[in-house]
Each structure stands twice: as structure tokens, then as C-alpha cells.
């Protein structure tokens, strides 16, 4: 394996959790709900994922537990914002704080406990393509899942009727309601999907990337995922670009620091944030259309009866 291949592999592992969480949040926001609790759902996924994996000895059980934990957190958020029409910003922030705290309790007796990561799946033939093969087609299942999510969500939003209805709820809840769509039910499922994705992204952190538990291990990735959604103008492919840009620069600046560049390390660490935002903003400015978010984003909807 060459150095370049090794770098690319680490880029993929750094980018995948961001991408999975961002795609989930993208669907939530397309339905008109702003869930700022990604970080909280993600870390609950990380904690429950590794606890379940160690307890059962099964990686798959860990992943399932992480997804369910993310969805449970999302359900709390949905109960507050849809059921009680609470302010979405406040509820999302509370969810993050709650998740950071609760995950510490859940994982308390597992701090530092190691387990083997989740194995890679080699795709026959494709993985033998020189250079690209081992990088793209000899990966863990999460990476494949993230590719599938981008393609699937993009297809769902633009090509299916259900996707059209979901977008309609995000554009104007009142109009969608007037046409007879169950806005709250649709938003509920979108929020659950977002929670499942955030939980999955969390599982990736504790089961593959590190693979052990420390409290606060999401380290702001949920917030990056949120930012990527906005700067990607709510387009799945652009979100993938943003996630990989961020992951790529994160890894590159590490290597640059290792190579002894005479730049303050704090500045280097800030680079991924700066460059990702600058690039995505530039794309947003250059390309017209799609730049505006869903018109009904963050506005609670209460049907009258």
C-alpha cells in the first residue's frame, strides 16, 4: 500500500461519519424541521453502539443499538417540536446537551474498553482495479452505506412522489396540509430518519474509527454535519463534496503538521473549517438556484381542526 493510498483511506474514514450525519439532517431539513441536536444523537449512537457491541460481542448488534439510540433521541425531539410545537432551535440545543451528558452515563463503565473494529468487505473484481480498487472497494460497510445513502436520498428527493411530498412539507406546511398531506406524520418520519443516520454516524466513531469509547468523542462532528447541509445548499451530492473536503483537509493538515511545516498547529487545525466553508460558499455563489433552503425551515406547524 502506497502512502497516497494510505492517506486516501484515512480521508475516507474521516469523512464518512460527517457524510452519514449530514445526509440524515438534510432529509430532516428538507421536510422543514431544523434539528440542531445532531451532535447529541450522534454521541448517543456512539455510546450505545459500543456498549451493545461489547455486551453482545456482535458488531451488528452494536450498529443496531446505535441506530435505535439515535432514533430514540430523535423521537424525543419530535415529541417536543411536533407534538408540542416547541421552538426547534431551543429543543435541538437541549437535545445536544442532553445527549452529551447521557452518553457519559451510558458509557461510564466502558471508558477505554477496546474491541476489534468492524471488518472490511472486499468487493471482488472492483477491488482489483489498480489504485482506485483498494481505496474505494475494500472498505468497511459504513462507507458503502454512506455512498448508498447519498445516491438513495438524492434519488428519493428528486424522483419519487414521497420525496416530492416531503419537500412540499418543507416549502409550505400550510399548503401541504391544505392538499391533505399529514405534515406532522411526514416530518416525524423525516426526523426519525435523521436520528437513525446520526446514530449510525456515531456507531462509526466508536466501532470503526477509534474503536473505543471516550466521553465527548464526537468532538463537534455533529455541528460540522449541520454546517455542511447549509453550505451544500441542501443538495446530497454537494453534501458529499463538503464532507470529503472537510475530511480530506483534516487529514492533510495532520500530515502537514507531521512533516514539520512552520505554521502554528492551531491555525492548521482551523484549516478544514475555513476551507470547507469558503469552497461551499463559493459554489453556492457561483451556481444559481437551490441556494435558498426550504422556505418553511424551522417554522412549527400546528394544523387547526
Amino acid at each position: 500500500m502506497t502512502l497516497l493510498e494510505a492517506i486516501l483511506l484515512t480521508v475516507i474514514t474521516a469523512s464518512t461519519p460527517l457524510l452519514i450525519a449530514a445526509i440524515g439532517e438534510l432529509v430532516v431539513e428538507k421536510s422543514g424541521v431544523l434539528n440542531l441536536g445532531v451532535e447529541g444523537m450522534m454521541i448517543m449512537g456512539a455510546a450505545c453502539g459500543i456498549v451493545a457491541a461489547i455486551a453482545t460481542g456482535s458488531g451488528a448488534a452494536g450498529v443496531a443499538a446505535a441506530v435505535l439510540a439515535g432514533m430514540a433521541m430523535a423521537a424525543i425531539f419530535a415529541a417536543l417540536t411536533l407534538g408540542l410545537a416547541a421552538n426547534q432551535v431551543a429543543a435541538g440545543l437541549a437535545l445536544t446537551i442532553f445527549g452529551l451528558g447521557l452518553s457519559g452515563v451510558v458509557g461510564a463503565s466502558f471508558v477505554g474498553a477496546q474491541r476489534a473494529g468492524i471488518g472490511k468487505i472486499e468487493i471482488p473484481l472492483l477491488s482489483e482495479i489498480p489504485f482506485l480498487g483498494p481505496v474505494l472497494f475494500n472498505q468497511d460497510p459504513f462507507v458503502y452505506a454512506s455512498f448508498a445513502l447519498v445516491a438513495g436520498v438524492s434519488w428519493f428527493l428528486t424522483r419519487t412522489r414521497a420525496g416530492l411530498v416531503l419537500r412540499a412539507c418543507g416549502e409550505s406546511a400550510a399548503s401541504a396540509h391544505a392538499l391533505g398531506y399529514k405534515v406532522l406524520r411526514i416530518r416525524f418520519f423525516a426526523i426519525l430518519f435523521g436520528g437513525a443516520c446520526a446514530g449510525l454516524a456515531g456507531a462509526y466513531l466508536s466501532l470503526v474509527l477509534t474503536p473505543f469509547w471516550t466521553s465527548g468523542m464526537t468532538a463537534g462532528r455533529g455541528w460540522i454535519a449541520l454546517a455542511i447541509v447549509v453550505f451544500a445548499s441542501w443538495l446530497p451530492w454537494r453534501a458529499a463534496l463538503g464532507a470529503y473536503l472537510f475530511g480530506g483537509i483534516t487529514i492533510l493538515q495532520l500530515h502537514a503538521q507531521g512533516a514539520g511545516f512552520r505554521v502554528p498547529p492551531q491555525l492548521m487545525s482551523a484549516l478544514p473549517y475555513l476551507i470547507t466553508i469558503v469552497v461551499l460558499v463559493l459554489i453556492m455563489r457561483l451556481r444559481r438556484g437551490g441556494a435558498a433552503g426550504p422556505a418553511g425551515l424551522g417554522i412549527p406547524f400546528v394544523p387547526d381542526r
Binding site: 412540499a168 416549502e171 392538499l179 391533505g180 426550504p294
Partner: protein
């Protein structure tokens, strides 16, 4: 001959919102092949009733019969399955989506988009309502948006089409086009339930009418056999007098002048002001007509100082260049402004009326002493507005959002008029206000002008402008026509101008 049952019947419908009975034992019968008018003032319960017919609301009591058989409509989808279609007053369209996507959302089948677009093209051709399926809704004019709504209803092959105030946003010529479509729909044996408060058009196109007042049916009649005045009497319950006004040519000196004002649009979908000039004289009411979204909002913002002009000389107040000054500076020079949106622009919803009076009055009024608010004086001012404009409110100083639309409008207009401004710029002075309040506001504007002040009224309501204005100018695509004396102007001649005739050719496209 055994008569077949009527198409739809509502029997003894009751709907309450809290203590308010929005519908109080309402009966309505619509026969197949008729255009049936549902008349009433704002808040009479018309929208509530049709929402129940479309399954959006559930009646508390009473029942709905469809072709003689009782039905319970749990949602719009069930109503559509029976054959009920509805065109909403505030369009239920999605701005960022294409016409075809908007139509697909209202169809209950699972047809793929290309097929929807094809059927859409077919239907729009059949009814003479041209539409491009690929355009996004925000690019469409108001008339085109309504076409989308009507076409998507017709694609469901409805037996009953409900139209909620369909002409309130159209030019007279666009309304003619709508009437022709409605005639065609009726000729196919479909029924139309037509909600309106425009009495002349109801008399022209409807053969039956049910009139609501305060949630109750007060009359049923054949509008063709009534006069507009008799219909109005049934709607309001008493005789509504028009205001008395003798239009005159401008005599006073010029109080407010705009010279060659051009402004780029403030937002992505906004309108640019292009070379707008006007001269507003003391003692006159100058009306600005136009279809919504042709630059009226932008003109108001430029006159009030919410947006600054590129040159100070572009806006002159009593001869003084104020184009680069903000709204408070202009207020100090004797101007006053009433914006279109009552709640959120003219008044802060959660502030009490006294604080709302302070918001627009602090610059020129006497509500402050050394930077401190003089509460007593503010409350006295609210009392005075209440007395002069007959505000109906629960407490002495309630929050603005607690007032009904008509009462809040009387407050926002009254708050400015009682300061005796030299120049008053008012947008949509009586939009969505009941007849009594509208008359009081119009009379107050005329009285203010009679005392020598200059009044500029921006309105979409041509009847209103023809009633109170001395001269009327028309806005189209950000340009303003020369003002025309109101004598000799008709709905039709104004309608042509509102549609762009007489404006430079490149705008007319």
C-alpha cells in the same frame, strides 16, 4: 317529475372556535351545473364553511349530503375522491417547485412527472389556460398562479369546484378570462361555489347566492334579480353609505415629489423601480393602482425611507431633498406612513397599543421627555385614537395582536392621522377590513386631504381608489404611469393600464 337530489347539501352545520360560532346552523344547497355565490363580509364564516366541504375542518354538528347521501369528509383526499376541488384564496402553491410538481402534489394517483406534465398540457389547452409545466412557481404572475390552481383542480375531473375570492388578485381583464373559463365549466355540468364580496361580478355570473353574516345564513336569493346595493344590505345588515367625494384637479402646492427614481430590487424575487416620478399636491388624494408585485412595496419603502434613494434629490418633501434620510427624519418633516402589513410591519404584535403608538410617534410626537417615555400621554393618545376611530377592544391598552384586523387597521391609520401629518402615504388602507371600518378609514383619509394634507394611497382595490382618489397613477413592472384625473376613468381603462398597455414595449412581455 322526481327531482334528482342536489349535488351537495350542507345541513345545520355548526363550527365553533372557542367561544366564537364561526358557523351557526348553516344550510347550503348547490345544484349541479350552477354557479352559486357564497357572500359575506370578512369573518362571516365563508371560508370556514368551504373548508368543511373540502374536508379540512370537521363540523361540530350538522351533516353534509353528496348527491343525497350523507358523507363524512375526513380530509381533502376524500373530498377530491367524491369530486370536490378547491382553489384557495391564498394560493396553496409551492414557490420553489415547478408547475408540474405542484400539479402532481394535488393528484391522488401515482403518475410519474412526465405523464402529469403531459396531462397538464392537455387540460390547459382544452380550457384555454396556457401554462408551462417546467417553470417554477415564483416566476409566475398572480394570474398564472391561479391558472395552475384551477387547472390542477380540473385535472381531477371535479363535479364541484370551490373558488375562494378568485378575482381579488386579478386585473379586470384577467377576471374576464376567468369568467369565460367558469362558463365553460358550468356548460360541462359541473357546479361552482363562488366565494366573493365583489357584488357586481356575483350579479353577473352567479344564478344563486347564499349570504352569511356572523356565521348565520341571513338570505338566499337570485343575485341576478337583486341590485348590488340590496346584496350589500343583506351582507352587512344595514345600509352602507359610500363616502362623499368630489374629485378635483390638484390646486395646493406640491408636498411630496419623486423625480426619476430608480432602485434595484432589494431581494432575489423583488421588483426594480424604474424612473419613477410623481408630484403629490396638498389637498389631494393620489391613488396608485396596480396588480400586486409590480413595485408598490418597493415604492412605499422608497417613500418612507425604509430604503434610501441613490440621490437625495430623488425624493423631495416640501421641496427639501430627503432621499438619503431615514424614516424618522422624514416623520420630523411632517410625513406619516402606514404600511400594508398590519401585524409585523405597521404594528409589533406583542406590544400594547401605547408602545405601538410610540414606535411610529417618538420621532415627531411629544411622547418623550428627556429620553424617558411619557406613559400617561401615550395612553391618552391611545384613548383619543379609540374615540375618534371607534376602536373595539377588550381593555384600555391591549396587545396589537389581540385586535381584529379591522380594528387594528383603524388603529394604525388613526395613529398617523391624529398626528395631523402634512403628507400621508398609506398602502392598502382597507385590505381585509369589514365595510363599516373601511368606510370610516376612507372618510378619515378624505377629511385629512380636505384639511390641506397630501395623501398618497397605494391600493389594489380599484373601487376604493375610484371612490377616494382625485387622480390615479398605475404601476407596472416597476414603472409608474402619469396620473390621470379620476373623472372619466373606469375599471376597464385602469385594468388595461394594469395589464401593461401604454407602458414601454419591453415591459409588456
Amino acid at each position: 317529475m322526481p327531482a334528482s337530489p342536489p349535488l351537495v347539501q350542507a345541513q345545520q352545520i355548526v363550527k365553533r372556535f372557542g367561544a366564537l360560532a364561526a358557523n351557526d346552523h348553516v344550510d347550503l344547497t348547490v345544484a349541479a351545473g350552477e354557479i352559486h355565490a357564497l357572500l359575506g363580509e370578512n369573518g362571516a364564516g365563508k371560508s370556514t364553511l368551504v373548508k368543511m366541504l373540502y374536508g379540512l375542518l370537521q363540523p361540530d354538528a350538522g351533516r353534509i349530503l353528496w348527491q343525497g347521501a350523507p358523507v363524512v369528509l375526513h380530509g381533502p383526499r376524500e373530498a377530491r375522491r367524491l369530486g370536490i376541488g378547491m382553489v384557495f384564496q391564498h394560493f396553496s402553491l409551492f414557490e420553489a417547485m415547478t408547475v408540474a410538481e405542484n400539479v402532481a402534489l394535488a393528484l391522488d394517483g401515482d403518475a410519474p412527472l412526465p405523464q402529469v406534465a403531459e396531462r397538464l398540457a392537455e387540460t390547459s389547452r382544452a380550457y384555454g389556460l396556457p401554462l408551462d409545466p417546467r417553470r417554477e412557481v415564483w416566476q409566475l404572475s398572480v394570474g398564472e398562479r391561479q391558472r395552475v390552481e384551477i387547472v390542477r383542480c380540473l385535472m381531477q375531473d371535479p363535479r364541484l369546484l370551490i373558488l375562494d375570492e378568485p378575482t381579488s388578485v386579478l386585473t379586470p381583464q384577467e377576471a374576464e378570462g376567468l369568467f369565460a373559463t367558469l362558463a365553460k365549466i358550468r356548460a360541462e355540468g359541473r357546479a361552482v361555489l363562488y366565494i366573493s364580496h365583489k357584488l357586481e361580478e356575483v350579479r353577473r355570473i352567479c344564478e344563486a347566492a347564499t349570504i352569511l353574516r356572523h356565521g348565520k345564513v341571513v338570505a338566499r336569493c337570485d343575485p341576478r334579480a337583486e341590485s348590488a346595493a340590496s346584496l350589500a344590505r343583506m351582507m352587512v345588515g344595514s345600509t352602507v353609505l359610500g363616502v362623499k367625494h368630489e374629485p378635483t384637479a390638484p390646486r395646493g402646492k406640491v408636498r411630496l415629489a419623486v423625480a426619476g427614481l430608480s432602485l434595484p430590487p432589494a431581494e432575489a424575487h423583488g421588483v426594480a423601480l424604474r424612473d419613477v416620478s410623481l408630484a403629490l399636491h396638498g389637498g389631494e388624494v393620489l391613488g396608485i393602482a396596480g396588480v400586486a408585485g409590480n413595485g408598490q412595496d418597493e415604492l412605499f419603502a422608497a417613500l418612507s425611507g425604509e430604503r434610501l434613494a441613490p440621490r437625495a434629490e430623488a425624493v423631495l418633501l416640501d421641496g427639501r431633498p430627503v432621499g438619503r434620510q431615514g424614516i424618522n427624519a422624514r416623520r420630523r418633516l411632517g410625513a406619516a406612513f402606514v404600511p400594508e402589513e398590519r401585524l409585523g410591519h405597521a404594528a409589533a404584535p406583542r406590544f400594547p397599543l401605547s408602545e405601538n403608538a410610540l414606535l411610529s410617534g417618538h420621532a415627531a410626537g411629544e411622547f418623550l421627555a428627556g429620553g424617558l417615555v411619557r406613559r400617561g400621554r401615550l395612553l391618552g393618545y391611545v384613548d383619543e385614537v379609540t374615540r375618534v376611530f371607534d376602536l373595539r377592544k377588550g381593555s384600555r391598552d391591549p396587545e396589537a395582536r389581540a385586535l381584529s384586523g379591522g380594528n387594528l387597521q383603524k388603529f394604525t391609520v388613526g395613529r398617523e392621522i391624529l398626528r395631523n401629518p402634512d403628507v400621508l402615504v398609506v398602502a392598502q388602507p382597507t385590505w381585509g377590513v369589514d365595510a363599516g371600518a373601511a368606510r370610516r378609514i376612507r372618510q378619515a383619509l378624505l377629511d385629512l386631504a380636505a384639511e390641506g394634507a397630501a395623501v398618497l394611497a397605494i391600493s389594489q382595490d380599484l373601487d376604493e381608489l375610484l371612490e377616494i382618489a382625485d387622480r390615479i397613477a398605475v404601476m407596472f413592472h416597476g414603472r409608474l404611469s402619469a396620473p390621470l384625473p379620476v373623472q372619466g376613468l373606469t375599471q376597464e381603462s385602469l385594468g388595461l393600464l394594469m395589464g401593461g398597455s401604454g407602458f414601454p414595449a419591453e415591459d409588456a412581455a
